[in-house]
């Protein structure tokens, strides 16, 4: 066994490094990039890629090496396309988390509103919750408070569709919390200040 190791074809080892790099990369890698990070020359990397391509091809493996415009990357084998489609379309989270819901409620009722303001009302940093809602398209940027001020956010038309509203005036009423947006805002800020620390 030890003997076998010693006579291992050195390109095999490089091929394994290439596999490792491709499985952790979040974009296709060029021969030049692979050569740079493996500290090998491009010719040897090409040879290694040949070995990887033989091992990872349709019919032989569920992982397939693909040469695309930007370089090399792994993709799923075509025979597994249905399962892969079910995986990505799987309703990962049909509902919204508590953090997302609270943030969305603040933006929907008080928007346009800045992240610091949302954070003050919720009592915790709002960065990741806001980023998540922006990514889902439920919230979008709506200018700044003033020049050089914080970016403000508002609810989007997609938000209205998802919640079945024609416009913001159809949001459930919160009369008991104050007549208008300003009153609601100052009430929320008061409660948050008292809850603080």
């Amino acid at each position: 066994m030890e003997r076998l190791r010693l006579v291992e074809n050195p390109v095999d080892r490089l091929a394994r490094s290439v596999e490792a790099l491709l499985v952790i990369a979040s974009k296709p890698l060029t021969v030049g990039e692979l050569a740079a990070v493996t500290e090998e020359d491009e010719e040897r990397v090409e040879t290694a890629l040949g070995l990887v391509a033989g091992r990872f091809r349709e019919g032989r493996s569920g992982i397939v090496l693909e040469h695309v415009a930007g370089g090399y990357a792994f993709r799923a084998a075509r025979e597994a396309a249905d399962a892969c489609a079910r995986l990505v379309e799987r309703p990962v989270q049909r509902g919204l988390t508590q953090a997302a819901l609270e943030t969305l409620a603040v933006v929907a009722y008080l928007g346009p509103v800045s992240r610091p303001e949302i954070a003050r009302i919720r009592g915790v940093a709002a960065d990741s919750a806001v980023a998540g809602l922006v990514e889902r398209g439920l919230v979008s940027e709506a200018g700044r408070e003033r020049e050089g001020g914080a970016v403000r956010y508002e609810a989007t038309p997609l938000f209205e569709r998802v919640f079945g509203l024609t416009d913001r005036s159809e949001l459930p009423e919160l009369d008991e919390l104050g007549g208008d947006v300003e009153e609601l805002r100052s009430r929320l800020e008061d409660v948050a200040a008292r809850r603080g620390a």
Partner: protein, 242 residues
């Protein structure tokens, strides 16, 4: 390193000796906590660290837990009527609590160093974060949602919790220096101020620390304090200006 904290030499008005002995005496009620200047203890610690010229995180962590516990005991002493379960904490119980507090902290510190070692051992383990380059793109459709959820979320945020009792009160301590600075500024600029107005919007624990700061200013002769009777407003004024 823990030894260094325990043996931290202190030279206070009310006490001279190692930190560890101070704790013991306080717990045995041989020394009144109200006579102990916690700020001086902190200063002594900071100075001892500065002399070594190195930041010893282990010692800092242990010291912070002990000082926080001391401050908490001191704060409890100032509000003896509150929190039924806290009343009449005898020295035995206090020692037990202090030891438990420190033991709990040490367990988590040990867990933290376990995590640190684990991270080191796993430093050659790489995986991809996020989507694969050629993965199918999900549509991320969100199911239809009920707008009543939004109203409920906002109502919950608008309803303050019930008036906090000390029973639930979990203590974090703003630095005493913050209030010392603020009060000194007020005394310089206005000559006098109403304590209640200054702490009105603060949390209970901030009010406690603010009050400790007030006592500290008085002890140092920087301020005079007057109160017409229990629960009446407290007036503070600058000694030299009066």
């Amino acid at each position: 390193m823990a030894v260094a904290v325990r043996e931290l030499p202190l030279d206070l008005d009310a006490f001279e000796g190692p930190f560890d002995l101070l704790l013991t005496l306080v717990l045995r009620e041989e020394l009144e906590l109200r006579d102990v200047d916690v700020a001086e203890v902190v200063l002594a610690f900071v100075e001892s660290r500065a002399e070594r010229g190195e930041l010893d995180l282990e010692a800092c962590g242990e010291f912070l837990v002990l000082v926080a516990a001391l401050l908490e005991l001191k704060a409890r002493g100032l509000f003896p009527d509150e929190g039924l379960d806290l009343e009449g904490l005898d020295p035995e119980e206090a020692a037990e609590e202090l030891a438990e507090r420190l033991a709990a902290y040490r367990r988590f510190r040990a867990a933290a160093s376990w995590l640190d070692e684990r991270l080191e051992a796993e430093s050659d383990r790489f995986f991809r974060l996020g989507a694969a380059p050629l993965a199918p793109v999900p549509s991320r459709a969100l199911a239809q949602q009920d707008p009543a959820q939004l109203a409920a979320a906002l109502r919950a945020l608008a309803v303050g919790s019930p008036e906090p009792s000390l029973r639930h009160l979990v203590l974090t301590y703003p630095p005493l220096a913050r209030f010392l600075d603020r009060f000194r500024t007020l005394l310089r600029s206005r000559g006098r101020f109403a304590f209640d107005n200054e702490v009105d919007r603060l949390s209970r624990i901030e009010q406690i620390v603010a009050f400790l700061a007030l006592l500290e200013l008085r002890k140092r002769g920087e301020a005079q304090i007057a109160q017409a009777g229990p629960f009446e407003p407290i007036t503070v004024w600058n000694v030299s200006a009066s």
